[in-house]
């Protein structure tokens, strides 16, 4: 029987699984070739045929419509899915893995942690995406570096800049766990640090790590999206002149959103469908995270007095 919170988790996993599936087989099930485009076509009006040019609204021929240059949006999205879904996931996993290992080891071996007070510096007001922006802006646009190279550079930057917050969380959790009576008892009986790690720390952290992983995926998705808004698309930006436009090389979803920002006032389907896909992906992550945390934190709270 499905109770309420498990339903969330099941739904989330199913949705998430289908996104993974789409990102793996996307190009195979795409209705058109990625470079297929239709600039002009005919539509049937009441009495005659009329010549119209792209963008075409959603129809049977183009289920999600085409963009301004006649490319099928569904095809572009299916091709871009792997960068959005798998890219996000791999970056988040790398962050959690590196930060987690370092946090557990330092938490176990370091004696006591002096809590640093956050100080105000020139960096306080500068968000992560601005740092990545400055590093990438010179090389991401019309780059001679291949797609995988740009993806790799940006991924490494995102991993590098995100690892410390995970390290902090895992470190303090480990330090907390170390004070638990069962760990102290185990230690007094002569358990080594590696034994503590395998038998006590890792099992206790398991649920936390899953939630952190999902939250990191969400953060990575935000980052890729914010950079996309500033025309630095994941995997490369193609800049064209007269008029100046920026196009996503990989057709990654936040790139599609970023490049379609101008279609807010007409032909809204160009921006709407990538936006919906992006939000659905977020929803799947949210469902998993809240499903796990419902199971995880069903601890007994003290009753409120008021």
């Amino acid at each position: 029987m499905l109770n309420k919170m498990n339903a969330k988790l099941v739904l989330g996993v199913l949705l998430f699984g289908s996104f993974i599936l789409i990102s793996l087989i996307g190009p195979l099930i795409a209705p058109y070739e990625v470079d297929y485009n239709k600039k002009i076509g005919y539509i049937q009006t009441a009495d005659s045929q009329q010549l119209v040019s792209s963008p075409f609204p959603p129809s049977q021929e183009f289920i999600l419509g085409t963009d301004k240059w006649g490319y099928d949006i569904l095809t572009l999205m299916l091709h871009g899915a792997k960068y959005t879904v798998l890219g996000t996931l791999l970056i988040a996993i790398a962050r959690v893995f590196l930060g987690g290992i370092a946090g557990i080891l330092m938490g176990l071996y370091k004696k006591e942690r002096t809590l640093r007070k956050a100080t105000i510096s020139v960096w306080s007001g500068i968000p992560t995406f601005v740092i990545i922006y400055f590093i990438m802006v010179g090389i991401n646009i019309n780059s001679s570096i291949p797609i995988w190279g740009l993806v790799l550079i940006q991924s490494v930057l995102m991993i590098f800049l995100g690892v410390s917050s995970i390290y902090n969380v895992i470190f303090s959790k480990t330090a907390e766990l170390k004070k638990e009576l069962y760990v102290v008892a185990s230690k007094t009986l002569g358990a080594s640090n590696s034994h503590l790690m395998v038998k006590h720390i890792l099992p206790a952290l398991k649920g936390n790590v899953m939630i952190i992983l999902i939250n990191e995926s969400i953060l990575v998705l935000h980052l890729i999206g914010q950079l996309g808004i500033f025309n630095l698309f994941f995997g490369g930006t193609a800049q064209q002149f007269f008029p100046t436009i920026y196009l996503s090389v990989t057709h990654e979803w936040s790139g599609l959103i970023g490049q379609a920002r101008g279609f807010m006032y007409h032909s809204q389907w160009i921006i709407l469908f990538p936006l919906l896909a992006y939000i659905m992906f977020l929803i799947s992550l949210y469902l998993i995270s809240s499903g796990i945390s419902d199971i995880q934190f069903k601890k007994v709270r003290k009753a409120s007095l008021l």
């Binding site: 105000i120 500068i126 992560t128 995406f129 590093i135 090389i139 999206g225 914010q226 409120s304």
Partner: protein
């Protein structure tokens, strides 16, 4: 000793900032911009050249001038207006955030736990730019289907800035964060023994909320102020860009896009952002301080 150490840290931070601003000129595309593929060049010596020129420029005041096409403009004279605008957006939305989070995070926490929290935890993970795009689409949709002009979706000119949507966007994400965090803390505080004592003494509910719960939740709020200011500034980048309101971050991005990359301008803008951070943070601190004083003496 402590101050010396922190001074060194600040200097290193500043130096790293100087390097970061130089990076777009260290790695960059060269060649004809109209060609689709360009060569990437790597010129690390640029860092030294740029920083040297900037340092010299500080003393000769050259560093404080920037170019907008053929015009040369004096940075300190221009930044004031941009700074004021960014400060206005941040503090007014911060004021709203703090007021509402008091209301729903502390005093009405039961209602918000019951009805709001599920929705809030979902809304909290939607990035700001998605909010903005959705709201712009919605306003536009309402206009198209009803002909009713609700609110401005973007600023067209400097004299007529969009107000409602940018402030809503700036309020939304910190507010969600605050309400959830304060709910949690309020719950903890309310199950403490001193609340039981207060009830035992026969104090009224509003009194307990105001003098016992609020004063004990305030420290958590204060501890989160730095984080929240950081989040708000990060949102400000996206908000100013997408709503086309003028502010420090637009100064940072727009002028380089239009007139090419200017190292000294970028560094000065980044420093202005730090000043903005500090002034906004201390405005919030002052606000909380005033509330505390009132509660203590009322």
């Amino acid at each position: 000793m402590y101050s010396f150490k922190s001074l060194i840290k600040q200097l290193i931070g500043f130096f790293l900032l100087l390097i970061l601003a130089a990076i777009p000129l260290v790695f960059h595309n060269t060649g004809d911009p109209l060609q689709s593929q360009q060569q990437i060049t790597f010129q690390p010596q640029q860092i030294v050249i740029l920083i040297k020129a900037f340092m010299a420029g500080i003393f000769s005041l050259d560093a404080f001038y920037y170019k907008t096409g053929s015009n040369t403009r004096f940075f300190p004279a221009d930044i004031v207006a941009y700074f004021k605008s960014s400060y206005f957006y941040l503090t007014s939305s911060g004021l709203i955030v703090i007021t509402i989070s008091f209301l729903f995070g502390i005093w009405l926490w039961k209602i918000s736990v019951k009805y709001l929290n599920g929705a809030l935890s979902f809304l909290g993970m939607i990035p700001d730019f998605i909010f903005i795009l959705l709201m712009q689409l919605m306003v536009n949709f309402i206009y198209k289907s009803t002909g009713f002009k609700t609110v401005k979706v973007a600023s067209l000119s400097m004299d007529d800035p969009a107000l409602f949507l940018p402030i809503v966007t700036l309020v939304l994400i910190p507010l969600i964060y605050f309400i959830r965090a304060l709910n949690e803390h309020t719950h903890e505080v309310i199950s403490e023994d001193y609340i039981l004592t207060a009830i035992g003494k026969g104090l009224s509910k509003p009194r307990i909320y105001l003098y016992h719960v609020t004063t004990n939740v305030l420290p958590y709020l204060k501890a989160d102020l730095q984080k929240i200011t950081g989040i708000m500034i990060s949102n400000l980048f996206v908000v100013e860009y997408l709503y086309n309101t003028r502010g420090i971050t637009t100064m940072l991005f727009q002028i380089q896009v239009k007139f090419g990359y200017q190292y000294n301008l970028v560094v000065l803008c980044l420093i202005s952002i730090m000043l903005l951070y500090i002034s906004v943070l201390y405005t919030f601190k002052l606000l909380i301080y005033i509330v505390e004083r009132i509660l203590r003496h009322a």
